[in-house]
């Protein structure tokens, strides 16, 4: 995101404008962080899916389940429960992240309207 001035126009910038620009910058940063977090959450969910599928296929009674740095020998049922729980937590988290992302996108659209309205060509709020 740039705020490049146009060629030599005398543009007045009030404190409120500056705050809007700052807020836009902050939202933009948070948006990028969110997109990364959402990507990771989606991958984690996929891994859980794969893991439960593998579990169904396996016929071993004891599964090596990673806790911390070690692989503990855990009965298959307990592993299934654990994976279910972890999946729920991740899904809820993913929902929250997506909600936050939508909220940020709409706030940014609002700010774009306001800032472009005042500064027109003097400001560039697009992703470079």
């Amino acid at each position: 995101m740039q705020q490049s001035g146009a060629s030599g126009s005398e543009m007045e910038v009030t404190w409120e404008d500056q705050q809007n620009i700052n807020k836009f910058g902050r939202l933009n940063n948070r948006l990028h962080e969110l997109e990364d977090e959402i990507k990771i959450a989606k991958e984690t969910n996929e891994n859980f899916e794969d893991a439960s599928n593998e579990l169904i296929l396996t016929d071993e009674e004891i599964v090596r389940f990673q806790i911390g740095e070690v692989f503990a020998h855990v009965p298959k049922d307990e592993v299934e429960n654990r994976i279910e729980q972890m999946k729920e937590v991740t899904e809820k988290n993913l929902e929250k992240l997506i909600e936050e992302k939508e909220s940020i996108l709409s706030q940014m659209a609002e700010l774009k309207k306001i800032l472009y309205g005042k500064f027109k060509d003097s400001i560039n709020l697009e992703e470079d």
Binding site: G5, G8, N22, R26, I67
Partner: protein
């Protein structure tokens, strides 16, 4: 997500980071500081550089903390698992890595104490409850530090934005001035 409207016109600095002064009017700013346009631009550019340096440092700290937090959570997980096994009287069998790609099997008997690695080649034995309490406290401290760090970064980025806008405005004002002078010069010639 924080939505505070910052009244940072009154904040002069935050944890060693100087706030960027907001410029109401470029002309007044230049006469107040007594700088000509190029010196003002140089000063602002240097400020920007300093902000970038601090930003790098904070980002590195943030990465460290973000790595530390899952570590602590994993430890809490292990202690909780031991806690759960306590009731059953069974031993916990676990495979652990002794070297890259080489694992060994361990039989962990029911025990009331765990050892925690405190760093600096120090490891202490704690009861399970004490260990959980200590790990919990470390986790909370790490999360609190991370929050403060994130707020610092936001403040810093705001100052960077303010400085960038000020640079653009001073530059534009200068170009505008030159245009005016050009116009006056050509008008008096004709």
């Amino acid at each position: 997500m924080e939505t505070s409207a910052s009244t940072s016109a009154s904040v002069t600095e935050r944890r060693g980071i100087p706030a960027a002064a907001f410029v109401e009017d470029v002309q007044i700013y230049l006469s107040q500081t007594g700088l000509d346009v190029n010196s003002a631009l140089a000063f602002l550019q240097e400020r920007l550089q300093q902000y970038r340096v601090v930003e790098m440092k904070l980002l590195a700290q943030q990465r460290d903390l973000q790595a530390k937090i899952p570590d602590i959570e994993k430890c809490l997980d292990v202690v909780a698992t031991l806690q759960a096994k306590k009731g059953t009287g069974e031993a916990l069998i676990a495979d652990f890595e002794i070297s890259e790609g080489i694992y060994s099997r361990a039989r962990i008997e029911d025990t009331d104490s765990v050892c925690l690695w405190l760093g600096a080649n120090v490891m202490l034995e704690y009861s399970r409850e004490e260990a959980t309490a200590l790990l919990q406290k470390n986790l909370e401290n790490a999360k609190a530090s991370l929050e403060v760090l994130v707020a610092d970064l936001q403040f810093l980025r705001d100052q960077v934005t303010i400085t960038q806008v000020t640079i653009a405005r001073v530059y534009n004002w200068d170009v505008h001035q030159r245009r005016l002078q050009q116009a006056v010069a050509t008008a008096s010639e004709s």
